[in-house]
Symmetry: C2
Subunit: 194 residues, 2 copies
DNA sequence: TCTATTTTGTACTAAAAAGTACAAAATAAT
DNA sequence: ATTATTTTGTACTTTTTAGTACAAAATAGA
């Protein structure tokens, strides 16, 4: 318990790596790119992440997933109307920068880019999206209970629909990185919640 | 006008290359992979495609786009009810093999994987999806004219929604490669056409 | 059959990327 | 101060991949 002190924080560099992966995807990103973005050298990198790029990607995805899930859960719990919170969640997309639109959804990108479902990296991304669907469902059930969700549709099916809309937006916003157009699209989609 | 005869047909090898790209994505595919799938050597390859992998990908996407657009257009023109044709188009997804589900949509994959919109490869994929949206719109307008589309919604907006559903399905079917589940999802989405 | 032309296959070169080895640096504890 | 421990930076090795060079092969036409 001593030794030369680390010049970086794991969580911090994981976040920086996640940004690069988000922008460029997994395969298009070289370890060189990552080292530069993280601001550390090979020695430190391979000592901290023996699995190299793969391990980094997996951990970066895991971190982002945890962060996103925790935030959603927290905001949902704090919301007066869970259904309205879902609406806000989607509306946020139409308040993004062009750069964010170009990046799409980091998990959707992972699912699209990685080829086989057995791949742990892909699995993590898929699991996150299923988790998001689960949060949608929680919100809908609470809405039903509290009377703010009036739709006759099966909540589980509704949640699946929302997930698909989300997945679609990750692609569509890249093709049409325009907040006006996206807003119109999103508002229309949200009518299934009425 | 003579010389040693080519042992391959451009269109054919482009189709074979497209399959590989579809399965593995652009970056994850090496020229080696492509040569093997196409069944030709480096000499022939670089003579026919001086731009290497990039040129191949662009041409493979272009070919698949032309094929898909032509088929859609042809079947749409032959359809009695254009709106019902759109339904069939989506329903086909739920009659796929697991392998196809895993591949998703080759154009959606391209949009998700490639990072910048200025990239000619990405542009081609984006243009295709916009073209698909255009075909949806044509079908909807004809349906409106002929009285089979009863929705009050703006056809252009409806077309955009359909595109987003399509884009979403390209991701969702990879996460849930299950025809039953997909069918339920798709049937529900199609209610916007009623 | 000879020539011009084009394609093919392979051997080679070049470049890029990943990963390892290891000495030096920086600390805590003795 | 000395030692044990851990991290750092760099130089080096290995592997992978892309791309080129070029002689041999296969044709059409003269």
């Amino acid at each position: 318990m001593s030794g030369r002190p680390k010049i970086f924080d794991d969580q911090e560099v994981l976040n920086k790596a996640a940004d690069v992966f988000w922008r460029q995807g997994y395969e298009a990103t070289s370890t060189e790119d990552l080292l530069e973005a993280m601001g550390i050298g090979k020695g430190s990198f391979y000592l901290a992440f023996k699995g190299g790029k793969k391990e980094l990607y997996e951990k970066a995805l895991a971190l982002r997933s945890d962060q996103a899930m925790a935030q959603f859960r927290k905001e949902l719990d704090a919301a007066d109307d869970p259904v309205e919170y879902i609406r806000e969640f989607f509306r946020r997309i139409a308040h993004s920068t062009r750069a964010k639109h170009q990046n799409g959804c980091i998990f959707g990108n992972a699912v699209a880019e990685l080829s086989n479902i057995e791949n742990p990296m892909m699995k993590r991304a898929a699991t996150h999206l299923q988790g998001l669907e689960g949060l949608f469902l929680d919100a809908l059930l609470r809405g039903k209970q509290e009377g703010t969700l009036h739709s006759k549709m099966e909540p589980a099916l509704l949640a699946r629909l929302l997930l698909n809309n989300w997945n679609g937006l990750g692609i569509t916003r890249r093709i049409y990185p325009d907040n006006e157009a996206l807003s119109e699209l999103i508002e229309t989609q949200l009518k299934i919640l009425d």
